[in-house]
Amino acid sequence: MQNPMDGVAGFKTFQYLEENSMTQSKFRNLAIAASLALMGSAAYAQVKIAYIDPLSGPFANVGEAGLKGFKEAAEILVNQKGGIMGQKLEFVGFDNKGSPQETQIQLKAAIDQGFRYVTQGNGSGAAHSLIDAVNKWNERNPDKTVLFFNYAAVDPTLTGEKCSFWHFRFDANTEMKMEAITNFMENDKKIKKVFIIGQDYAHGHQVAKAAKEMLAKKRKDVQIVGEDLHPIGRVKDFAPYIAKIKASGADTVITGNWGNDLSLLVKAAKDAGLTARFFTYYAGGLGTPQAMGASGENKVLQLTEWHMNVPTKSTEKFALDFNKKYPGVWFYYLRVNTMVEMVAKAMNTAKSTDPKAVALALEDMRFPAENGEVWMRKSDHQLMQPLYISVFAKADGKTVKHDSEGTGFGWKTVASVSQRDSQLPTACIMSRP
């Protein structure tokens, strides 16, 4: 049985999950929020962004890590540097429990409390729900528009067929990531046989489809020796899948798996002595390195916009401070910082906190992020940024200076993809207000 409460249609009206910057008591805040909600007014001296992600239930750890990242980024990268036209930027958590329907309720709660910006990232289902709801809201309430910043939902259709003027994505989508991975594979002639394994849902299907199409174009000689989809979160023992991969003779595995489905897969591979390399999207953070441990050494590769051993101007310090301040939560999302800085810059440039003006300012923005110059493409609102392929290797204090999540293993860059090279054409036909 899964936790029966996850789906409880729970609503948190007055969700003040202030982590540590609160000066008033929660109860007083509650009262204020309640009266504001009743009046429906929005007299804030701050710029507030509603963070709508799971804060309870099975994905709560991921949601909480994200929220802490946003708060820290807002504080250090914006508020300590003068804020937004003198106002503070603040992130407030709204618990959607990972449910697309709950997401809509939380959006309503946020709008009621005067929020005009929302951000979300965990789960494309919730992202779809949010993009629909925001579009409809803006259509029905043109004087109170809302803008949606997506920091991690990677379904290509969100900036493709379903693209919206009111949605900006700061993470590379599935296809862009696969483009980068297959570009890398194109040059690695050791790869002969590829096995694709994924979770049996939209994301897994998209990864598999992109991998097949792109490999067919770039490496005609590579043989795809197998393709498996397994139900998400239901497989305990991956040994049979590993046995199958082994039997297929694959030297490379591509997977879009995340969370336990990834950790268990890697552990089972190690147990069975499978030597194939794993190309992954999500091996880098949020507990996966810890769960994989030594079994991932020199076997697991990941594609990210950044990792701890990519040299930066200030993010290294930021990350170390973050890890110290929140023991047990490891800094992972550089794109969160990028997003916070870009949003602040857009507001300052537009000299307005009106969502439409901010959206227009964000379009086509070029920004020197810590991982290199990034560009928000106007045609589909997809951020173009450099990407890194790295392998899980023993921390040595030099090229692998920092380990990941205290495991003694860290990420070693094996290739980087420039912002320009990660670009792909889009199917977006955007309707603009």
């Binding site: 899964q2 936790n3 609503f11 948190k12 509650l30 809509q104 139900p231």
Partner: protein, 425 residues
């Protein structure tokens, strides 16, 4: 037994509820509260439909969300299929199509599940629920994969009596109408031969067979009808959220409806209504205040199972019986007397739990006990013994007082109940 379904008293209650439901958005203008009321309305229909099985027929189902979810998907697909060809009137009637889908699912699945009652029924519904949920992720063409299926309830520019259903408050009106109609229908069903025989089958299936009824057929019919109303609830949720995801038919949703019905009281028709309102509102209050709300909710549920397995409705019913017998006044001082120690005990427990959360998984993360942390609005040092000892002491005192005064309440309660039943005999 009053021969009229709509006696004057009953008519007043029904009318009052309807009037109250319509009046609420006039007082509470907040869009969020209206969304909330919409959710309550949907859950009322859903949990009442669930109680047709558990409360009225004695069938413990762990897969009721299947009917709800399929109703929602059917409604959404129909909404999208009609597209521009429809109008607000068609949209308003769509939940009926959801009901028909739930009914069809009831015919199909009920045929399999209702062969048995009791534990076997519970497990087979669990299995079928898991199966449908697992399958829903495998057929993205029907269930929309992770993103679900979305649609737009506003069709065209025309309106019916000025309603387009676009604004949430108009949707709320629609939900109230449907919920009211369904509630009346489900209540009426309890007053029909089938409804009564379902009670008989719940109480004693063997005897029901020996007064001429095929218990399998009775269960089957009840599952079908219950599926119909669950499907309507699903259809309403499809219109309300304008998105339906696989989540609507999985085990979580089935678990939720069971909790709601049980907490409200399965032995009474209106129990699930109380449950739907209470569960939702509890989550607002507690969920808004603390990270630990799931824990509090779980403990509350266990408490209800152990202390008031008849749910809130049974507590109300007993008090009402006391009131009518003129005995409520005898108990009132005891209630008041016991309220204080219970509050002390609760305060202590809440303090302990909140301290625990703050120390172990709270704001500053694991092991951050050396910094002053906010707990219940107080700035506390978690590594100092003071707060912990205080909370422990309060809990201890509360426990002792509760046992002492609670014991006296128990004695008075038994005496009063004896008088009550004595009067009846």
């Amino acid at each position: 037994m009053n021969p009229a379904l709509l006696s004057r008293g009953r008519l007043a209650v029904w009318g009052g509820c309807l009037a109250l439901a319509f009046a609420l958005p006039l007082v509470l203008k907040s869009g969020f509260v209206i969304s909330l009321l919409c959710q309550i309305g949907i859950m009322v229909v859903f949990s009442l439909s669930y109680n047709m099985l558990l409360g009225q027929t004695g069938l413990l189902s762990f897969g009721h969300a299947v009917y709800y979810g399929l109703g929602a998907f059917a409604t959404m697909h129909l909404l999208n299929a009609i597209g521009k060809g429809g109008g607000p009137l068609t949209t308003a009637l769509l939940p009926f199509a959801g009901g028909l889908a739930g009914l069809a699912a009831g015919v199909l699945l009920g045929y399999v599940t209702t062969r048995k009652a009791g534990t076997t029924f519970a497990m087979i519904t669990l299995g079928i629920g898991e199966m449908v949920a697992a399958c829903s992720l495998m057929f993205p063409a029907v269930f929309g994969g992770e993103g679900g299926v979305s649609g737009n309830r506003v069709v065209g520019k025309e309106t019916v009596l000025g309603f387009s259903w676009g604004p949430q408050v108009e949707m709320y009106g629609l939900i109230v109408l449907w919920a009211f109609a369904c509630t009346v229908a489900m209540f009426a069903l309890t007053q029909t031969p089938l409804g009564r025989i379902a009670n008989a089958v719940r109480d004693n299936p063997e005897r029901a067979e020996f007064v001429g009824y095929d218990t399998e057929r009775v269960r089957f019919l009840m599952v079908i009808l219950s599926g119909f109303f669950a499907g309507i609830a699903g259809g309403l949720s499809a219109l309300n959220y304008e998105i339906v995801t696989a989540e609507t038919l999985n085990a979580h949703t089935s678990g939720v409806v069971l909790l709601i019905a049980f907490v409200g009281g399965i032995g009474f028709f209106y129990g699930p209504i109380i449950g739907a309102i209470l569960v939702t509102v509890m989550q607002i209050v507690i969920g808004g205040m603390t990270h630990a709300w799931l824990l509090y909710f779980g403990l509350f549920f266990l408490f209800m199972v152990l202390v008031a397995p008849g749910g809130i409705a049974s507590l109300i019913a007993v008090q009402r019986a006391l009131w009518q017998a003129g005995l409520f006044r005898r108990m009132l001082p005891h209630y008041l007397a016991v309220a204080l120690p219970v509050l002390v005990l609760l305060a202590g427990l809440v303090g302990l739990i909140e301290l625990g959360y703050a120390l172990l998984s709270g704001d500053a993360g694991v092991g951050a006990g050396d910094t002053a942390t906010k707990v219940l609005g107080m700035q506390l040092h978690l590594n100092a013994p003071g707060p912990w000892l205080t909370a422990l002491a309060v809990t201890g005192i509360g426990l002792m007082l509760t046992r002492w005064i609670g014991g006296r309440l128990g004695v008075a309660w038994n005496a009063t109940l004896a008088t009550l039943h004595g009067d009846k005999q």
